[in-house]
């Protein structure tokens, strides 16, 4: 029997499927199950086809899955679009009153296979706004969730509204649950969960924002762009309580220059954006490099070129991040693979930016930004206090912002905190920050700036390795591909293959001592990444001199699943294993 079930809520934008989905996900987590939510949406506010997939069960669950066990079809199109994904014993919730010809036909077909459950939405909730809650009540009952968990959740969610609204919701919920109790026979509920522990239910963007707050970020400027906007919104909601300024700039160029200005004056600053916005920011990244100003950028990737597929996912901007900005200057690029890492690595990024006095880029993507998982509260005690600049110095009149030092890192002071003057320049400059065309100084300044890369390299986060000491097959990935690759590796291990997984949470600068031996030892190395040209495999070739045996690439706008990776591997290894059979553990 499968240990996880995949519940797909599908419908049009504006039907409130995220609300039902979030309530369901939270109820599952509070009942003791794991969840992994993947969202799919189109670039429109109403209509279109949106999905909210909750994969749940007893853990570990590290990625989404295509197969659907319970389809909550909020409109008729949802059935025909997802029919192919339904498992043999899947159940489809449909509105009993769908009048549409197509819907009736689709529902009838499913009914023949005993897969359709016609829910009398109108009867259970006379007002259409409550149809959400009907779907929630029925689903919760089918899955076997405790009634009080879901009732409490609905009460909490609507607590801010009038009591009347709360009661109406609860009444509808109870009616739906009661109805489902009589009609749930065909669906097998989830296995008994362990005793639930308190866990947060949050997405990648929110985890990034929490990491920034924990590290003392005080300034965020942004120009809205999917999928990164959520980072700014989360910071904006926290701004008053946490003492930071969040400003929606007139464009991305303003956003990054504002952040650099703020950082210069002492506020740890962050700018979230996506590919197109990041492209506009590149001159500013170069400015942070030249002026040696700490700056954290969050690059939430989506498919390009240009506006691409605005709401889908891809890992196509690695080369952009590596080479963004003209001239030569050091940078670090961190690539979290999970919600937990979104938090931890953003915290690290703030500190790295400060220590290297320059830009640090945190790369996520739509998949990771919108993925929702249940994780234990972050251990704040474990976090190191990020480094911060001094505010005074012994000899203020002798202070030089760009003083030559052994390791290239100059003492950083803030303007206006003492008698010293802080002079910053985008032109080549002397130790005291003034424009110079002295070519000997130019050369030394270039070396000083590049010298800081050594520091970044020494502090590089080693890739995480999962597997036996020696592996026949080594899967290599970076960023959000971790979850699906990890799941695929584990399935193969259960089949008796010796599979290792190497996940890069930092892709620049690389420190070969940390992983080169492992690459060399593996019989076969397969790089799994969400782009069409194998950008990371290319980087390994160029920077480390190692060529992977092959790449598995996906670039249709959807995230990898373990099944995708297994399917591709089977072609090579000849293991005639049906991908979704492999999922049946």
């Amino acid at each position: 029997m499968r240990l996880s079930k995949n519940i797909l809520i599908a419908g049009e934008a504006g039907q409130g499927l995220v609300t039902v989905g979030m309530l369901l996900a939270k109820a599952l987590v509070r009942s003791g199950y794991e969840v992994f939510v993947t969202q799919g949406y189109e670039s429109r506010i109403r209509g279109g086809h949106n999905t909210f997939a909750v994969r749940t069960g007893l853990g570990p669950i590290r990625a989404g899955i295509r197969d659907v066990d319970l389809l909550i079809a909020l409109n008729q199109e949802s059935i025909s679009l997802h029919r192919e994904e339904l498992t043999e014993n899947a159940l489809v919730l449909v509105d009993a009153e769908h009048e549409d010809q197509g819907a009736t036909r689709d529902a009838d077909q499913e009914a023949k296979k005993d897969r359709a459950l016609r829910v009398p939405f109108a009867e259970l909730a006379p007002q259409k706004v409550f149809h959400n809650i009907v779907a929630l009540g029925v689903a919760a009952r089918l899955l076997g969730l405790p009634e009080n968990v879901i009732t409490d959740l609905v009460r909490e969610t609507f607590a801010k509204k009038e009591t009347d609204v709360v009661e109406k919701n609860v009444n509808v919920l109870q009616a739906a649950t009661a109805w489902a109790a009589e009609h749930s026979a065909t669906f097998q509920p989830l296995p008994e969960p362990p005793k639930p522990a308190k866990r947060m239910v949050l997405n990648g963007n929110q985890a990034v924002a929490l990491g920034a707050l924990a590290a003392g970020t005080r300034f965020c400027a942004f120009y809205p762009m999917t999928p990164a906007t959520g980072v700014a919104l989360t910071l904006g909601a926290a701004a008053k309580d946490f003492g930071l300024v969040v400003e929606q700039a007139e464009d991305e160029i303003a956003a990054i220059n504002m952040a650099i200005g703020a950082s210069y004056a002492g506020a740890p600053a962050l700018v979230p954006t996506s590919g197109g916005g990041f492209a506009l920011m590149t001159e500013g990244i170069s400015l942070a490099g030249m002026t040696e100003t700490p700056l954290v950028l969050v690059l939430g990737q989506r498919p390009g070129p240009a506006t691409g597929l605005p709401t889908r996912t891809e890992q196509g901007d690695l080369n952009l991040a590596l080479y963004a900005g003209h001239g030569e200057f050091p940078r670090a690029i961190l690539t979290p693979g999970s919600i937990e890492e979104c938090f931890r690595l953003t915290h690290t990024a703030v500190d790295m930016a400060e220590r290297s006095q320059g830009p640090v880029i945190v790369m996520t993507d739509q998949y990771l930004a919108d993925t929702i998982q249940a994780i234990p509260p972050f251990d704040l005690e474990m976090l190191a206090e990020p480094s911060r600049p001094a505010r005074t110095c012994d000899e203020p009149h002798a202070y030089k912002r760009y003083a030559f030092t052994e390791d290239g890192v100059s003492p950083r002071l803030l303007p206006g905190t003492g008698e010293h003057l802080v002079v910053l320049d985008s032109d080549e400059h002397t130790e005291d920050g003034h424009i110079t065309e002295d070519l000997a100084i130019r050369k030394r300044m270039v070396e000083k700036r590049l010298g800081k890369e050594r520091k970044l390299r020494e502090a590089a986060l080693a890739p995480t390795y999962i597997g036996d000491e020696q592996s026949d097959l080594l899967l290599i990935c970076w960023g959000s591909t971790l979850g699906p690759a990890d799941e695929a590796a584990e399935i193969l291990r259960k089949e008796g293959c010796n599979v290792g997984l190497l996940h890069f949470r930092q892709v620049w600068p690389l420190r070969p001592e940390q992983f080169l031996e492992r690459l060399r030892q593996a019989r076969e190395t397969v790089c799994v990444e969400g782009n069409a040209t194998g950008q990371f495999a290319g980087l390994l070739r160029k920077d480390v001199g190692f060529s992977v045996s092959r790449s598995i690439l996906r670039y249709d706008g959807l995230p990898f699943t373990a099944a995708d990776i297994l399917r591709e591997l089977n072609i090579e290894t000849g293991r005639a294993q049906e991908s979704h059979e492999a999922m049946e553990r």
């Binding site: 509070r30 308190k198 866990r199 947060m200 239910v201 949050l202 929110q206 929490l210 707050l213 590290a215 003392g216 005080r218 300034f219 701004a239 008053k240 309580d241 946490f242 003492g243 300024v245 400003e247 700039a249 007139e250 464009d251 160029i253 303003a254 956003a255 220059n257 504002m258 952040a259 650099i260 200005g261 703020a262 210069y264 004056a265 002492g266 506020a267 600053a269 400015l287 002026t291 509260p377 972050f378 704040l380 911060r388 505010r391 203020p396 803030l414 303007p415 206006g416 905190t417 003492g418 010293h420 003057l421 802080v422 002079v423 910053l424 320049d425 985008s426 032109d427 920050g433 424009i435």
Partner: protein, 284 residues
Amino acid sequence: MTTIEDFGEFETAWCPGCGNFSILKALKKALADSGLAPHQVLLVSGIGQAAKTPHYLRCNVFNGLHGRALPAATGAKLANPGLHVFVESGDGCSYGEGGNHFLAALRRNVDITMLVHDNQIYGLTKGQASPTTLHGQATKAQPQGAPSQAFNPVTVAVAMQAGFVARGFAGKPDHLADLIRQAHAFPGFALVDILQPCVSFNKVNTFAWYTERVWDIPEDHDPADWSQAMTLARQFGDRIPIGVIRRDESRPTFESHFPVLQEGPLFGRTPDRAKLTQLMESYM
């Protein structure tokens, strides 16, 4: 008390006779007259001849990218409202490359003093038309004459309800110093557009050309009256009014919208773990 000498004396890279020299002199005088010490002052600039000004005086300097002085200055002012922030730049920098930021700054009303050395030409890149070059004026890059209508920054600023809008002239440094002092004292965004002869590349708008045309705004002008200010702002031709065109303190500063800034600068605050724990609980 600070004096002009406190702001230092530097070697410059400007052409002899350039209007920038007297603007620099006026700026130093205004800073000293305002009683500011060098370390309290932050001069932010972009790129261009005008944008080199901050390097020619002792103070904190952020010499950033072409056209991007305003966003950088905004960020710095928000991070530390205690800094006295001045933006120094040219007409190409402020109204061309940074045009969108200029409009946004007028809307935001951050407490920044913006000084534009308006020489109606690109100086540093050797003589192309700028947004304020008069329509039809021939330049090296536009030999048939500048094809676009000139931008009138003062009219735009007044139209957008900027709180303080003035026009100065490099040929009248004492008058200019007083304008800069008033602009700095104004609580909110203050623009001083300064007529600045470029002796090398602008052979039309010379010292003589400006001197012939400028006239002091009469005492009876009421800068709080928007229509009067609009009428004056639109004058740029045979007669060019200099002085304070508009002054209105009724708009709140941008900074005042952020309650967190009432506690002072954004640096030196440690992350609040108790609040973070609470925030994490809200996700459960």
